[in-house]
């Protein structure tokens, strides 16, 4: 097992992990603030991927550029979804929320199947299969772009929540729902805003993901699960936590695949989830409430 091999694998794990983190970012924001378990998360990302593929097919629009309009669209959809459908469920028991979103996920998946058919689709950009060679280390171009995007989005979101008034208001809602209402914040609007932001993050992640993966209607559930694992490990409501969780999962899966058995590498994520849930349920960077 040469050092080059390990280095290649770790770097790849970090880059992939950052993209996973971006995917989980939206989930963390939604779950951390609105406290809704979004089991349709993976399906939302799948739709975003289809949007990117369609835009590419129609206008040859690079997915990185497509991320902006798709994110804007998803922001609107997320806002509407929260305000219209999900809001009454915030106070309902978890199993009700769960079924609501499972129903939404089922509808989305099968509508996608009906509209797009079962064929997998992808984008074909020129740089998709390029890589940079730094000595013996080979770095995948598309993954680097996706990772950079993840970092940029996280930074932007972090700045929004830390420095803007709306962001602060949203954080107030998350910390103390009742207090926020007493102070006069329009909680319903802020929740919808948050859901919209979360959806926009998912949309960006989806656009980036099309550079690496084919899109098919049944892609959703595995990403939902992965998203939850990362969010729990990294810490609820913590944006850097989502990235960190993603990187941790990415690297540990990569190393497990290298040293143990690649087909069992997902077991590592779940083992990690169990360990974190038991010993540090707030996650690595989360705060204890």
């Amino acid at each position: 097992m040469s050092a080059t091999l390990v280095a290649n694998v770790v770097i790849s794990g970090v880059l992939t992990g950052l993209l996973y983190g971006l995917m989980a970012l939206g989930l963390s924001v939604i779950f951390g603030v609105v406290r809704v378990v979004n089991f349709a998360h993976g399906e939302m990302m799948t739709i975003a991927m289809y949007a990117a593929v369609l835009l590419f097919g129609a206008f040859r629009l690079d997915p990185i550029l497509a991320a902006l309009p798709v994110a804007a669209l998803f922001f609107a959809i997320g806002y509407a979804l929260q305000a219209g459908l999900i809001n009454p469920f915030i106070t309902r028991p978890e199993h009700s929320q769960f079924i609501l979103l499972v129903a939404v996920a089922t509808i989305l998946t099968n509508v996608m199947l009906m509209v797009f058919g079962p064929d997998a689709r992808s984008v074909q950009t020129d740089y998709q299969l390029d890589s940079w060679a730094i000595g013996q280390i080979i770095v995948d171009k598309a993954r680097v772009y996706a990772a950079l995007c993840a970092l940029a989005t996280t930074a932007g979101l972090f700045a929004f929540f830390r420095f803007s008034r709306t962001g602060t208001a949203i954080r107030a809602c998350a910390d103390n729902h009742l207090g926020a209402r007493i102070v006069g914040l329009d909680v319903k609007h802020l929740y919808a805003l948050t859901f919209g932001l979360g959806a926009a993050c998912v949309a960006i992640a989806g656009c980036m993901m099309t550079l690496l993966v084919e899109v098919a209607p049944s892609l959703g559930p595995s990403y939902t699960l992965l998203g939850f694992v990362i969010v729990i490990v990294g810490g609820l409501g913590s944006m850097p936590g989502a990235l960190l969780g993603g990187v941790l999962i990415g690297v540990s899966e990569a190393l497990a695949g290298l040293f143990i058995d690649p087909s069992a590498k997902s077991m590592i994520s779940f083992a990690l989830l169990i360990v974190v849930l038991l010993f540090r349920p707030q996650g690595l960077l989360g705060r204890t409430t």
Partner: protein, 327 residues
Amino acid sequence: MSPRARVPLLLAALAAALLALPHVAGSYVLSVATLALYFAFTGQAWNVMMGFAGQLSLGHSLYVGLGAYAAAALFVKFGIGPWAGIWLAMAVCVAAGAAIGLLAFRFGISGVYFALLTIAFAEFTRIGFDHIGWLGGPGGLFLKVGQRTSIDLANLRGTPTMFYYVMLALTAGAFALCAWLLRSRAGYYWQAIREDEDAARALGINTFRWKLLAVTISAAMTSFAGVFFAFYYNNLFPEQIFHISQSIEIILGPIVGGVGSLFGPILGAVLLTTLADSLNNLMSAMGWDVPGIKQVFYGVILLLVVMFLPNGIWPPLAKRLGLERKA
């Protein structure tokens, strides 16, 4: 007629109808009925954990799978029939449930976190079983299908009618067990824990012990479903039996029917199973041969039920039938 008198009468009528079903219905209806009872049973088992003790398990396929593989392995490898195999199945499931419960409750995990923990265990086990070559791995474990015209109850080999009655007996047993549990001390403690765990603890209830009991009873009951599955379908694949979609199917019935109620899981399972199949028949009758359309309808109906009947279908129905009694 007072509710007290109505209940046994209605139950008797229902029992008579269910017992007579194989003699009036064709093989197709029988297969749907068996499936409905299967989900009624597993839903009832899940309900013990959720409806009674308030612990949301989204990984119940774990117990179905463990029970199925335990009994199937004994049968395929050692020729030991299911009536003995069920003991191993129960033991394995109780151990798994106790392990999860111990870990979770010792560390104070609850709510969504507990649910995610159950998912993690189920997924972990699914991938794990994919690597157990001795049990067939991803290629699956196949049980030898014997003669299907004669009934060999000892080895659960026989006609679909036999399987229907076995499932009916299991469901009736689960119903009776849950009814008894609800009225027992466990039932009262569980209700207290469900309403307000801290208050219950303050009252001196050992919440840890009672929650653990709920988990293990639920797991043990579900193991029966696993054994049934193994001998009814005669093939087991980790990808299918431990899959999260199985866990989701199990909980749809109780949630739609009414979590925490006695009859809710049964009603919900029956309604959903017949709905799913009726939608299929409707689609093909109308010539809408588009893959996926049935699931869209199914999802929409699920959505509507969950939006407008937050406690499930059974509570308002029970009220309407005049069966309501003080909680």
